[in-house]
């Protein structure tokens, strides 16, 4: 334990909190002046070497006596609408424009706010909103005419389903929130926004269902997120890593998804979701181990099918974790466990293999992991090539060259298939990593080592918590109602008998136990 404590202290000392002013220009403290020229000078100073900042002076009125200054970032503001609703409207305006109120009337823009400080100017320009200064008025108007480049809503390649909604989140926070709003049409769906990242000032939205979700949980999430000190956030994972209960654990204690239906279901169960601008990955918290073994599809296809599939997944998660270790243990320690006719074949296969079983197994597993990683990194066009190389190299040539035995290839492939059966990538990678130490332990202690490793993992899992919720719920501690939707999936009408469902339980448990910070 002292190692962890020491590392924790060491990490805490090395970094200090950065002041909020970091991202603002030094001119931010100034107030907007009545003189257009003076304002322009300040802007020029602040946006020195910013080629994408457009400043445009507009002359209007009957003789062009009135002047206005429009500032915006190229590519983030909607230029067509600026032309149509700002410039044309001003030039066509019959009434004289003397104040911002007059200007608001003249423009045909809904979202227009008045500001007085340069700090707000910089913030809003960075957010993509054009700012309009009027000559002779010591304040400015923010126009909500942003247009960020965003891809359209597409299906999710990372969490595909056969039955169920295909659309997934995109990189735009507003689009993502709208996808949620479309599914849960009630004002009880709350969206709280905050900013994270000293320089990036990433927009973060915390969504939850009022009345279902525990207020303490919301406060806890906000506290934890606000305590994070980071320069920029490009994905939820960067925050997840820092706000998890047990940061040193290999198991993810916060769930990630790209699917709106998953988020909606989680929120109705009393969980909260954390959206980040610029990434389609949304965090769900709290979560349990079994949530990672469930697919949204489980609820769309019948309960018999889903139950069978979930049991299948549970079996295969054990295979993914233990198959190579079991093979090593049995081959090198417990030869009497193998049926006689099988061991005769296995001996023949292994006769020419020069390595011990553990070297063979670890080598093959590492090769496979390399192959998989290469498959992810390779450009899409070369993707199929790597699978051909992999199949030929690992599958055939290695056997013919007597480097590995065919039995080992079978074990590796079953393990690979099993690891891809886990619906959530975060858990599947954790299982894949844990496989290696278990293999080494199996080569030293045989099945005894395998059993001890599993015991250690289960002890760790039961000791984990996700925002105060036991990670191994509903089995440790055992909750009968919630266990109906874990390894099995009870029919929906059975689960619905308690209108509060699983979350009712969960809320009480959070209150009773108190939050762990």
């Amino acid at each position: 334990m002292s190692v962890w404590n020491f590392l924790r202290q060491w990490k805490g000392k090395s970094k200090k909190k950065t002041p909020e002013q970091l991202y603002l220009a030094p001119e931010a403290s100034q107030m907007i002046s009545g003189s257009l020229n003076k304002n322009k000078r300040i802007l020029d100073q602040a946006y020195q070497d910013c080629a994408d900042v457009i400043q445009r002076v507009i002359r209007f009125g009957e003789k062009g006596e009135s002047g206005a200054l429009l500032v915006y970032l190229e590519g983030t503001a909607n230029v067509e609408e600026i032309d149509e609703h700002v410039i044309k409207s001003l030039q066509k305006s019959k009434k004289p424009v003397r104040s911002l109120e007059d200007m608001k009337q003249a423009l045909s823009v809904t979202d227009a706010q008045k500001i007085k400080q340069f700090a707000d100017v910089f913030k809003n320009v960075s957010d993509g909103k054009p700012v309009l200064f009027l000559d002779g008025v010591p304040s400015a108007l923010i126009l909500g005419l942003t247009k960020w480049a965003t891809r359209s809503v597409e299906d999710t390649p990372t969490e595909p389903v056969i039955r169920g909604a295909k659309e997934g989140f995109v990189e735009s926070l507003h689009v993502n929130i709208s996808l949620i709003r479309r599914r849960i049409r009630t004002p009880k769906l709350k969206v709280k926004t905050l900013e994270v990242g000293d320089y990036s000032r990433t927009q973060v939205a915390l969504t939850y269902m009022d009345g279902i979700c525990d207020k303490k949980l919301i406060q806890e999430i906000l506290d934890r997120v606000n305590r994070v000190s980071i320069d920029g956030v490009w994905d939820g994972g960067m925050i997840q890593e820092q706000i998890q209960d047990q940061r040193w654990s290999i198991f993810p204690q916060i769930q990630t998804t790209e699917r709106p239906d998953t988020i909606c279901a989680a929120m109705l169960e009393g969980r909260a979701a954390l959206f980040f601008e610029g990434t389609p990955n949304v965090l769900i918290m709290p979560t349990t181990f079994f949530a990672f073994m469930q697919s949204p599809e489980d609820y769309y296809s019948g309960f018999i099918i889903s139950t069978l599939l979930r049991i299948l997944r549970t079996i295969f998660i054990l295979i993914a974790l233990l198959a190579p270790a079991f093979y090593i243990a049995v081959i090198t320690f417990h030869q009497e466990l193998i049926p006689t006719t099988l061991i005769m074949s296995v001996i023949q296969f292994r006769e020419q293999v020069p390595f011990p079983a553990v070297v063979e197994a670890v080598g093959m597993e590492i090769t496979f992991e390399g192959l998989r990683e290469a498959g992810v990194r390779l450009p899409r066009q070369i993707g199929p090539a790597i699978s051909i190389v992999g199949a030929l190299v690992i599958g055939q040539a290695a056997i013919q060259a007597s480097l590995v035995s065919p039995a080992m290839v079978i074990v590796v492939s079953i393990t690979a298939i099993a690891s891809f059966m886990i619906p959530h990538y975060d858990l599947s990678i954790a299982i894949r990593i844990l496989r290696f130490p278990i293999m080494i332990i199996a080569s030293m202690f045989g099945l005894l080592g395998v059993v001890l490793s599993v015991i250690c993992i289960v002890i760790h899992l039961t000791s984990l918590r996700s925002f105060g919720i036991p990670y191994f719920e509903p089995f440790a501690p055992f909750r009968k109602k919630a266990s109906l939707d874990s390894v099995v999936r009870a029919p929906l009408w059975v689960q619905k008998q308690n209108p509060q469902g699983a979350h009712g339980n969960r809320n009480q448990s959070v209150k009773g136990r108190g939050q762990k910070t």
């Binding site: 002292s2 190692v3 020491f6 060491w10 081959i331 090198t332 320690f333 030869q335 009497e336 006689t340 006719t341 061991i343 005769m344 296995v346 001996i347 023949q348 292994r350 006769e351 020419q352 293999v353 011990p356 079983a357 007597s402 080569s443 030293m444 202690f445 045989g446 080592g449």
Partner: protein, 384 residues
């Protein structure tokens, strides 16, 4: 910072020291390619009275040999080696000394004991195998008059080697399977009655070059000494009494009829009623079972009620004669392999305890009365 570095160094050293002793687990580790699988063990005696053991070892064929073997008839993948010694362990160690690999006996399926050893040194042999941790308690035992090494070296036509063939055929034909565990149980019974199937190497009728292993009955022991034999039919009778009988087709001639019938006898249940009447120990046996007529070369017509009853009756008569003949033999050999003592022990515990020490004398005088009730479930008549 520097202090911390020293700190972690110490901790790392501690962790390494703690992990080191765990490496001792690697000592138990045996790679498959360092093992020689012992498939069968044979125990024999030389003329000088030394123990001689023969081991049937599995010979792995490499990939290329396997491919070429695809076209030619499959050779048995076994090799038999023999060595003598003062004790079984001694002989075994003499074999180990010549082998490049560790002899692994976890897959030893068959133990063949020659009659010369079985006659008076069976206790010694059984003691060794009961002690041996690596040999399974479910290993099958056989007794043979032939040379043990010949049985092990016999080429099996269908299986990979003779031991697997023995294991499979025993279950299929006689259903008398005696394992080391069975023997341990049998040894607890009065007078230690033990039965072990008897095998014999015979020439194949069509191809004299090929040898076939036949089951020729069972060897009967009492007090771990080989006393005599039961033939195959008598063995079936014994199995019916002990409840281990599964099914078999018996062919016999009904009384007053020319020709023979074959009946597939199944689902035999035995209900035993012991009585002690004026010092006479009597065993009434209700033998219930079902039979299917498989073949009929007599004039009996199974479609007629009368003939039907005759077939049923004669089947029952035949079965009781089979049981009787074996029982009388076992009474002569003084080995209670029919486990009659159990029935008496349950009904007359006091009497039995009084006489337990003299059980051999009592067993000789037991009167067996069999009441067969065989029901013909299938006439076999389809075309008539």
């Amino acid at each position: 910072m520097k202090q911390h570095a020293i700190h972690t160094g110490k901790i790392l050293l501690l962790i390494i020291l703690l992990i080191l002793p765990t490496l001792s687990g690697c000592k138990d580790h045996h790679e498959l390619d360092n093992l020689a699988l012992v498939m069968a063990t044979g125990i024999d005696m030389t003329d000088e009275g030394r123990i001689r053991i023969s081991l049937q070892l599995f010979v792995p064929q490499t990939g290329q040999a396997q491919q070429s073997a695809g076209s030619t008839p499959i050779q048995n993948q076994s090799f038999v080696t023999t060595e003598t010694g003062e004790t079984i362990t001694d002989a075994f160690n003499n074999i180990t000394r010549r082998m490049s690999r560790r002899l692994f006996r976890g897959h030893n399926t068959v133990i063949v004991i020659s009659t010369s050893v079985a006659r008076d040194r069976l206790g010694e042999v059984l003691d060794y195998f009961q002690r041996m941790r690596e040999i399974r308690q479910r290993t099958l035992l056989f007794v043979t008059d032939d040379k043990v090494s010949d049985i092990l070296a016999a080429q099996s036509v269908l299986e990979r080697n003779s031991s697997i063939a023995l294991m499979k055929q025993e279950r299929k034909h006689v259903n008398l399977e005696t394992t080391i565990r069975d023997i341990s149980l049998m040894k607890t019974r009065p007078n230690k009655p033990i039965t072990i199937p008897c095998i014999k190497l015979t020439e194949d009728r069509t191809d004299p070059r090929k040898k076939v292993i036949d089951t020729v009955g069972s060897a009967i022991f009492s007090k771990e000494i080989l006393n005599g034999r039961l033939n195959v039919r008598q063995t079936f009778g014994m199995l019916m009494m002990t409840g281990a009988f599964e099914d078999n087709i018996f062919s016999f001639s009904p009384r007053d009829e020319k020709g023979a019938i074959s009946v597939d006898v199944q689902a035999v249940h035995v209900h035993v009623r012991p009585t002690i009447h004026q010092g006479q120990w009597i065993l009434d046996v209700d033998l219930r079972g079902r039979g299917a007529l498989v073949e009929n070369s007599t004039h009996l017509d199974p479609m007629k009620n009368r003939d039907y009853a005759i077939i049923e009756e004669s089947t029952g008569h035949f079965l009781s004669s089979v049981i009787h003949s074996g029982f009388h033999k076992s009474q002569k050999l003084n080995s209670d392999v029919y486990m009659t003592y159990q029935a008496f022990d349950r009904k007359y515990p006091a009497e039995f305890q009084k006489w337990e020490k003299h059980w051999p004398d009592i067993y000789r005088t037991i009167k067996l009365r069999i009441h067969p009730h065989i029901e013909l479930i299938h006439s076999g008549a389809i075309t008539d």
